[in-house]
Symmetry: C2
Subunit: 212 residues, 2 copies
């Protein structure tokens, strides 16, 4: 049975899962969430798909799962890919997935939203500056960890990479420049050379071009 | 061997783990991190304890673990407590731990810091207002989930509760009022009635009183 991923192109959290599905060779199809019309904030979405009001939502037969970190873990059980080889690697992957949710994707996602998708008259320079100053402390952690390493955990692509990389591939500016972070830049290049890799707007439906 | 938890009283992420250690009946001792003198930002801390520059850090014999969600999971393996009874409960616990790291503790922790620990002259009303507006969308998710439920997952205390509850017990104001959220209020009361429960500044060394 085809796995369905409720997602939308702009959602970096969805992109993590879309990458895992695609690179894991699974039979899946995207179902577009109309985020910009408020779908995730409505009672229907919260009542049937995700009480947290977030994307993505994965449906595999009778199972409905939310939170990209949970879904990545589930897909690794299914495919035996990207989940680490032993308890120590599994813990290290979870550590980076949590760090990403807490510090990187969360703050990068919000900052990108504020700078690109929020109407200009609602933008606050103080808030954007604050978010960018928070992120300025985040990138060096990943840059330092990738010193002398090809992948975040072990010697191949794992869910740690899939979680942390996602927002860093989007074209909209939010203060991150690959050229400033050579280890991150090489690592993003390495991931995107994986056979089957596609950028977010080619892997999921919906993009800023739809609203232009 | 006594487990050591590098932590400090003001750290809600540390408090999650301290609660798990205490309520799990483990032999542990806290080691105070001097966060307010910049210890977590120094090379020594990042080089030996946690490259992410965060608290807490747990040391159990040869094993050093960071990220509260990873540590809670490890302690559940050790004690067979708070970790859920089957795969579905384990996934549901991880879902709430991720949500907490992404939406609740992360944003509550930052907002509390900005409103209470940052020097008054550095505070931005725009930034605090923005953070509080983000949190205004977070509390209803937990309030709604706890409707008709005593615990976040299953029928007893789990790591989902220990993760989500932590910042909500602190006395410093950050915009959260228990009286506004009756289900959350009753749930916090239920957790604090667990034998052995202590508030953050009684369970870990360091509190705002030290710096008064």
């Amino acid at each position: 049975m085809t796995i369905r991923l409720h997602c939308f192109g702009e959602s970096g959290h969805s992109y993590k899962v879309a990458l895992a599905l695609e690179l894991g060779g699974l039979d899946w199809e995207p179902v577009k969430i109309d985020f910009f019309s408020g779908e995730t904030r409505g009672d229907a979405y919260r009542g049937t798909l995700n009480e947290m009001g977030e994307a993505p939502v994965l449906i595999d037969g009778d199972l409905t799962l939310t939170q990209s970190g949970v879904i990545l873990d589930y897909l690794s059980e299914k495919t035996s890919k990207f989940g680490g080889r032993d308890a120590a690697e599994r813990r290290e992957i979870l550590r980076w997935v949590l760090w990403d949710n807490h510090k990187l994707s969360s703050q990068a996602g919000v900052t990108r939203f504020l700078m690109n998708f929020l109407p200009a008259e609602k933008r606050s320079g103080d808030v954007i500056g604050f978010m960018q100053s928070r992120l300025a402390g985040v990138y060096p952690v990943l840059e330092g960890h990738l010193e002398g390493r090809d992948w975040i955990v072990g010697d191949g692509l794992t869910n740690a990479d899939l979680s942390c990389c996602s927002y860093l591939y989007y074209p909209e500016p939010f203060g991150f420049e690959r050229a400033d972070w050579p280890n991150i830049d090489r690592w993003l290049g390495r991931i995107s050379e994986t056979p089957g890799w596609k950028p977010p707007y080619e892997l999921m439906p919906g993009s800023p071009a739809d609203r232009a």
